[in-house]
Amino acid sequence: MASILPAGTTAPDFTLRVTPDQNLSLSELKGKPVILAFYPADWSPVCGDQLALYNEVLPEFRKYNAELMGISVDGVWCHEAYVEARRLHFPLLADFNPKGAVAKSYGAYRESDGVCERALFVLDDKGVIFWSYASPIAVNPGADGILDALEKMKEGDGSHVDTQSSSHAA
């Protein structure tokens, strides 16, 4: 498993396609917490469950004013079809060209398979990683870690939680 960027690191900025004719830059989201969910592929069953779950948990994320972004190496048209089919209410970003470049900058690219790892990052309102977590690729990491991080961040002790590896999960 790749070594993902740990808590305390400034999140690398990026600009990615979010729809066929729109880009989104991470820097545009400064001032609010951001959740980045890297996942291997649209349509694959585990991701489906993971993104379907986050779709339902969105109102909770929004209580913390947090923005959720899904990121995979799928192209914009694929994302568009997937968002529509699953009625997703958050954006999916296409880390498509050059393939996986953003995932690589977060240490969340799986070279052997050419896909993103299943990795989560919670960024604070200044764009610094507050919490990160890499899940085994076939395991849906759930949303509890994200909510715990958002809650701790809101309590505002200012200290970064930690970066967890999969050994913590199971």
Partner: protein, 179 residues
């Protein structure tokens, strides 16, 4: 190890005696095909352990991909307010292929409860807070899909095959029995 963060409350639907050494909590979605497949297996597990197991069902509807799941959960809660939760619960899973408002109304009438009252409860979202609170408790406990089981508070990460569930329950009873 994910653990159940939402303790049992009087609002929970519980089968089996308080004294049972094992409590199994299921987070389920009435429109989820896996949950429907697990339903008869859960019943076999409960039968197998008799008074040694207590069972709690909580709602975890993925309403964006399962458009009837939330109404089904609210209808079950409606029946629960008249002490008929489990009959409705069984009725929904056993007829999941027909799930929709007509089925929910038919089941409610078959239990001798008022169709008009359940319609009103659905329109007003009377039982939605209970359903949402189940859901959020599940999310905070690490439920990542349905069905998810917690056995004595620890998430069961095996399958819902009879043998896997029985094995997990037995481990919690700390009794060595031949599988």
């Amino acid at each position: 190890m994910s653990t159940l963060k939402a303790p049992l409350t009087p609002r929970d639907h519980v089968l089996g005696p308080l004294t049972a050494p094992v409590t199994m909590v299921e987070y389920g979605d009435y429109e989820c095909p896996h949950c429907a497949a697990a339903h008869p297996i859960v019943n076999l597990v409960l039968e197998h352990f008799g008074n040694n197991i207590r069972f709690v069902f909580r709602h975890f509807p993925l309403s964006q991909i399962h458009p009837h799941a939330e109404a089904a959960a609210e209808s079950a809660e409606f029946c629960g307010s008249s002490g008929r939760f489990w009959e409705m619960h069984d009725g929904i899973y056993e007829n999941q292929d027909q799930l929709g408002l007509p089925l929910l109304l038919t089941l409610v009438s078959a239990l001798g409860l008022s169709e008009a009252a359940v319609r009103e409860a659905l329109v007003n979202g009377t039982y939605l807070p209970k359903v949402k609170s189940d859901f959020i408790g599940g999310v905070r406990s690490g439920v990542n899909g349905t069905p998810t089981f917690f056995i004595n508070g620890r998430r069961h990460d095996g399958s819902f095959a009879f043998s896997d569930l029985v094995h997990s329950v037995k481990e919690n009873m700390q009794i060595r029995m031949p599988v």
